[in-house]
Symmetry: none
Subunit: 230 residues, 2 copies
DNA sequence: CGCAGGTGTCACAAAAATGTCACAATACAA
DNA sequence: TTGTATTGTGACATTTTTGTGACACCTGCG
């Protein structure tokens, strides 16, 4: 399943499609974005494992996009590959300075791109293995889709598991109900924000053992936060 | 959230709107003013992090406005970007002489403007980065919505946290109750100004440890000020 | 088709935050 | 020093936000 989730950003649909197709043939999951604005939002909402950005784009250049992604601690860890039109040393340097992890010079062969992708993913340790998330005596295994506390399997619905996984990936940080809807529910939904409350409630109920529900803290007026230390 | 609070001053509503829209898309908070008179008042009252002024305006030109803003110590620190119609060297010089921090020649692309805004804000140290705010042994993390003194979490209400955050972003500067209502409460409210006193009181009470409450100083007849050094 | 679990929504209960007031304390000017 | 204006403080009613249980609606499955 999770060979890796990759966001491809290019203003030329043809190129975008070509890249996506070859990546999908290589076993990756992909998503397209036509410009920087959309890309920024998708990166935020969907937390891809890797982003491939074209250097030259209207509105927002790949390098500016890179800068923004790397500036936000919430997305800074996402590896980035830049596509440059020419092989200019200066571009490479500016790209790497902005925080890109690799760059590919256009035109390139699909095989070359997937090779780079594989390399970057391996390097950044985000490869296939979703290593287990742990907080104290609680362990969540995305692979097995299971959460254990003190080695006891905790039963909860899939949505609660997703929610918990998201929280464990971003501990100590407050998320508004809207952000959680975006990122756990998957964006383009219009759902009553109070629904989040209910799922928080269900999640808390599920992990009641040893007071673990106190890890899910509510921040009045702002949202919820996951705190590792109980 | 608080990517920065920007005042846009232009007598042409269309341009004003266009600028505001693109700034908002870039994550800034904006406010419009149609002429110099209004602008002057808003700058005074709301203490934006940056002001964008059109050069050519009826009543009061951008450069005159700049001069006035920079003359008043209460607003002198606010960075200013001027919009000039032509790329005339003389205009640039006059603008910078008056104290503007940057200038953009019309017509300009939204991207160019936001780039300048970003640059000016970064230069003046008021950037986007929600990095932690610190004053002595006190640290406020907007991400985590938490304030710590000597690594001890300080408990306070959300309004007090907002208030403290605002103060820490503008240290050593006096704010009237009205200004605080505008910026911390969010403007369009009609609330008794004395309410601010009560929240100041609550904030002080919250950070009493190690005399930190002395950082919030009252300036009789004017308002309150946050001083980094106790 | 009927069932079972998962989801979203609702109504009401509970809790926390907020704004206002009355009065005390303090600073400032005459 | 006295008087006046301004600010500090604690208490309280109101408003806002969140917790919680119940319920109806899907959706996949036997």
């Amino acid at each position: 399943m999770s060979g890796g989730f990759i966001l491809v950003v290019d203003d030329e649909p043809a190129i975008c499609d070509m890249i996506c197709t070859s990546l999908e043939m290589a076993g990756y999951q992909t998503r397209k974005a036509a410009n920087g604005q959309i890309a920024l939002q998708m990166i935020f909402n969907e937390q891809p494992d890797l982003a491939i950005l074209d250097w030259m784009m209207p509105m927002m250049s790949g390098i500016e996009l890179t800068t923004r992604i790397k500036r936000d601690p919430l997305t800074a860890e996402i590896p980035i590959i830049l596509l440059t039109a020419r092989s200019v040393e200066e571009d490479k340097i500016r790209g790497l300075e902005a925080g890109a992890d690799d760059y590919v010079v256009k035109p390139f062969s699909p095989r070359e791109l997937t090779a780079r992708v594989k390399a970057v993913l391996r390097r950044s340790g985000k490869g296939n293995e979703d290593s287990n998330l742990t907080a104290g005596t609680m362990v969540l295994s995305p692979d097995e889709q299971v959460c254990r506390i003190d080695n006891e399997t905790v039963s909860m619905g899939p949505k609660e598991l997703k929610l918990l996984e998201f929280f464990m990936r971003h501990p100590n940080r407050v998320f508004s109900r809207g952000q959680l809807l975006d990122r756990v529910w998957g964006g383009n939904v219009y759902i009553d924000e109070r629904t989040v409350d209910v799922h928080i409630r269900r999640l808390r109920k599920a992990i009641t053992m040893n007071d673990h529900e106190r890890m899910i803290q509510t921040v009045r007026g702002s949202g919820y936060r996951f705190s590792c230390d109980i």
